[in-house]
Each structure stands twice: as C-alpha cells, then as structure tokens.
C-alpha cells in the first residue's frame, strides 16, 4: 500500500542520504547523554526513527532484509539485559540497586566508575527503546502492506 504510493526518485534519494546522518546523531546523543542534553531514550528514539524511515520508503521486502524484525526484538532484549545487569550486579557485590560504585570493573574506581556506570545504563536504555519502538511499528502495521 505504502510502496506503491511513494515510488519517487526524489524521496528515495533524500531518505537514503538522510538516514546515515540521523543514525550518527543518534549515537552521538546516546554516548553524550551523561554530560549534556539527551540520553538513552532520545537516542533510542532517533535510531528507531531512522529505521522506520527506511521501512516507509523502501517497502516491506527490502526493508525487512536490511533490518529484520527479529533483530529489533533481539536488540531490545539485549538492552533490557544490559540495564538489568547494571542494576543487579552491584547488588551482588555489596551495594544497592543501580549503585555503580560497586560495579566489578578492573582498573577504574570512584568517580570514573560512576561515570562508566551511567554510560552503560544509557546504552541499555537506548537499545531497549530502539527495539521496542521498531517492534511497535512492525506489530502495528502487521502483514497489511
């Protein structure tokens, strides 16, 4: 349905030019989120928007080859796993939930450890939001395109 309506060379070239820059900015937002505006949620939404834009202008067959829905499910699950581990592992080492100072990373300690901990949590949130939004889109449109 969507594929037949937007077979336009202008839209296709603009979208294929735009998508790498959206993804680069999304990765910047995720990795920069602990000392600036942005963070895991916003970066994950931007990543998901790039994949959804690809699905909108490429149509089902090609877009599912480029980014299969199973991969979105796997990435969302991995993101949740990263967040859960960053929360639970400090509990196993004597801290409380999400207490980054107790993460068992060799060679770093103190403020640097907290800094890395919030980075790990932001990465997990970003992956989880990305996978979930792509999955919402895929289940929403289903097999009807």
């Amino acid at each position: 349905m969507i594929r037949q309506r937007y077979q336009s060379i202008i839209i296709q070239s603009i979208c294929s030019l735009l998508i790498p820059f959206i993804q680069l900015f999304a990765i910047y937002v995720i990795l920069h989120g602990h000392y600036g505006p942005g963070g895991g949620f916003q970066g994950g939404v931007l990543l998901a928007v790039s994949v959804l834009l690809q699905r909108l202008y490429l149509g089902k067959e090609v877009a599912y080859q480029k980014f299969p829905p199973k991969l979105a499910l796997a990435l969302g699950a991995v993101g949740m796993l990263i967040f859960g581990l960053a929360g639970i592992v400090p509990m196993a080492f004597g801290g409380s939930f999400l207490d980054y100072a107790y993460l068992p990373l060799p060679g770093v300690s103190g403020a640097e450890l907290r800094y890395l901990g919030i980075l790990i949590v932001e990465l997990g949130i970003g992956l989880a939001v990305f996978g979930t939004l792509v999955l919402i889109f895929d289940n929403f449109i289903g097999g009807r395109w």
């Binding site: 969507i2 505006p37 928007v49 889109f137 929403f140």
Partner: protein, 81 residues
C-alpha cells in the same frame, strides 16, 4: 527570556493546534500536529528545559507522526464529520 519570542511562539502554537483540529484532510492534520509539537519543543527550549524539548521534538514530531500516518494508510484519509 524575551517576551516577543514567547508571544509569537504561542501564537503559532495556537494557530497550529486550531488547524490540526479543523482540517478534514487527516494527513494535513497530522502534519499540523507535528508542527504543533515542534513549536512546543521550541517553547520548552526557550524556557531552558533542553532535555524536555529534546524528548518533545523526537517523540512528538518523529514517532507519533509516523504512527499516525501508518494508521491513516490502514484506514482512510478523510473524515466524515
């Protein structure tokens, strides 16, 4: 805080909201809604809430627009009231 910027952003905001409510072409209404959330984001940024503005710009102008357009293509484009 500059009150002129605030004032004109609010005026454009109200115009976009009324346009989104009154259009019968639902695709145009979705576009007006995306413009509405983008001006809300500008207003948030102007008031200093950069993080909230970021969420509003990505979610309001990005994801909800895409989801509304998909819903339109799955149903039909014009209202009947």
């Amino acid at each position: 805080m500059i009150w002129q910027i605030d004032f004109w952003l609010l005026v454009i905001l109200i115009v976009a909201a009324v346009t989104a409510l009154s259009l019968h072409d639902l695709l145009g209404a979705v576009a007006a809604l995306a413009a509405y959330s983008f001006f809300v984001a500008l207003l948030f940024a102007q008031m200093g809430a950069i993080d909230v503005a970021f969420v509003e710009a990505t979610l309001g102008a990005g994801i909800t627009g895409v989801l509304f357009i998909i819903a339109l293509f799955l149903t039909k484009r014009r209202t009947e009231d």
